[in-house]
Symmetry: C2
Subunit: 111 residues, 2 copies
DNA sequence: ACTTAGTACTTGGCCATGCATAGTACTTGT
DNA sequence: ACAAGTACTATGCATGGCCAAGTACTAAGT
């Protein structure tokens, strides 16, 4: 029951939401996402991101195509699917509700 | 990869935060917490709450005392400890940061 | 007295997910 | 050739929410 562990738990589910959103804005590959997540101070490592992308693809929420790179191996560029967009919308609502609920609770004063 | 599942994931970690906060506001027992969480639209069931309370107690973040009830079996009334208060403060910061980070990402427009 | 219903708490096992770690494959620079 | 950098893959672990079943105590009905 340490702080770091709880922080990890808080990120669960949110990550999926954030990544779907990033992909929905245009073609990106893994390193793009890592960069954006890091700049938003959401720490993510490869070992988390890649399996998640695989899950999203298997669920039909995203697709990818191989694109040759001028430096290094080819990259998987991801795009969101129709189904992914619908899912993203639902997640947006869920996030809104969760934020409201939590803020409602922590704004209650001592009774 | 269904919606309900992701909603569960999003709640992870947040729950701990919410419950600690509720306890910090005064003595409560499990049903009080369930009621408040439900009224804030955070769905929680017994099988989730009781193990969590046990974890919090083992970690020294909360304490409880048995109190006789006029109707039904005695109840465990929980209070927060010094250590729990400190932990709660850290979680508050973490929640703030997570909200900011997530909102930063989902507010980015199509590039 | 016995049964039924309601309340409070407990326990064991399942599953999804983030993460650590190690490994593969390709390209470029020296 | 070799090293370094980049991109992706695979395995196994720990955490924690949830389901389901169970225990224990009290109060009300007959």
């Amino acid at each position: 029951m340490n702080l770091e562990n709880t922080q990890v738990q808080m990120r669960k589910g949110i990550l999926e939401f954030c990544i779907l959103h990033i992909i929905s804005r245009g073609e990106v590959y893994a390193s793009d996402m890592l960069e954006e997540l890091t700049s938003a101070k959401i720490m993510v490592v490869e070992g988390t991101l890649y399996p998640l992308l695989t899950r999203l693809r298997k669920a039909g929420l995203v697709e990818y195509k191989w694109v040759e790179s001028t430096s290094g191996p080819p990259r998987k560029y991801y795009t969101i699917t129709e189904e992914g967009l619908a899912f993203l919308n639902s997640l947006g609502l869920t996030w809104e509700e969760l934020m409201n609920s939590t803020n409602q609770i922590i704004s209650e004063k001592q009774s």
